[in-house]
Amino acid sequence: MIQRLYVHNFRCLENFDLSLRDMSSVLLIGRNGAGKSTVSFALEILQRIGRGTNRVAHLVQPKDLARGRSDVPLRFEIEVLLEDRTFKYCLALELPERFRELRVAEEQLVVNDRTIFSRREAQVTLYRSVHGREAQFLVDWHLVALPIIQEYSETDPLRVFKTWLAHTVILAPVAPLITGVSEDETLEPKRDGSNLAAWFTGLLSRYPAAYAHIERYLREVIPDIRDFVNEPIGKESKNLLVRFEGNGGALSVNFTDLSDGEKCFYLSAVLLAANEFYGPLFCFWDEPDNYLSLSEVGHLVALLRRSFVNGSQILVASHNPEVIRKFSNENTLVLDRNSHVEPTIIRPLSEVAPSGDLIDTITRGDLVR
């Protein structure tokens, strides 16, 4: 569960402090260009580090520096509560003169005030209290150290933190890109949802009981669904078929041919099952209302809020009135910035709550002035 995210000098986020302490579901609202999606991009950089990407140039570019400002480090700090331990990870990147790509200036992982490793430029110090040894070594300053430090065991704090980061789910689905074909298995869904079939296959291969969970949700939203089949096609690939029945008839449909909204139902079902079976997860969902009928939006958001509890956490960004109404002032954060050359400001809605109808105020553009 993220307690705090601090980002500095990354696109429109300057000295940006997002406090999510003890909030299991949070809504981000704000005008277009306020920085809602940029928060997800910052989180995605940390997610990709957890998933093994360590070349700095593959994570951030010089153009990601706020207004190209290269004299100030780009900084990410995340504080996460996992298994009653507080993990604090910090990564600062810099672009010295005559450098074409950013390099690591500082990196540190601290668990409950005990430093696991720290780094300044290329020099890494690995602290090992259990083994009583301290190791120092050099790492190419264009590489992030976290993915390449070897863990000792499954319970090693490094392992726990990296696994949590890798399993974070950041979604901004592009439904037409979601197909039923999978060539591998994964527990690491992509932002656009395009590897949903591989996520579905990976989830069921590790946790077969998740099928019942997924089917139960889908029956609620698609009442005439009978079941679904993940048929092998060729040596390595599978294709997802969905079978319907009702009124005496039956129909088998390629997952790829489902409507965009129905694909999003599947995505929701797999997300909810994933959180149940290998969570607690953190999820950022950019506009979960996309592709859904208005009658379904509120149900989905309420279900997400209710499912992401007990250590799991969901962060939602949306402009949709139905989504906005499903959150209260205490767990709604308003992002705003005056112009493209000024940074994003974040405030709880409870501080700026209008006296009249919230949606009317947002529609008039009067929420933050």
Binding site: P223, S295, A302, K326, N329
Partner: protein
């Protein structure tokens, strides 16, 4: 494809934003079927709730259940 219309369900007409937020807390209860409850936008006053209930919902409730709307009788009292 919503399945709720002909199943037992509850439509909540909320008076104002404070009432909406109270209902938001209520629907997070784990024993509640979220699909059986639909919270509508704040109507801005009790009088508007009564009018909306009579004009938009009462006839369909009577039609679906086939029984007289006892809630309606209570409201008139």
């Amino acid at each position: 494809m919503s399945a709720s219309a002909y199943r037992p369900h509850l439509i909540v007409l909320v008076e104002d934003d404070a009432a909406r937020q109270i209902v938001n807390g209520f629907i997070l209860h784990p024993n509640l079927n979220t699909r059986a409850i639909q919270v509508m936008r704040p109507l801005g006053g009790w009088r508007r709730i009564l009018d909306t209930y009579r004009e938009e919902y009462l006839s369909s409730m009577y039609y679906i259940s086939g029984k007289k709307g006892c809630a309606h009788r209570r409201l008139r009292q």
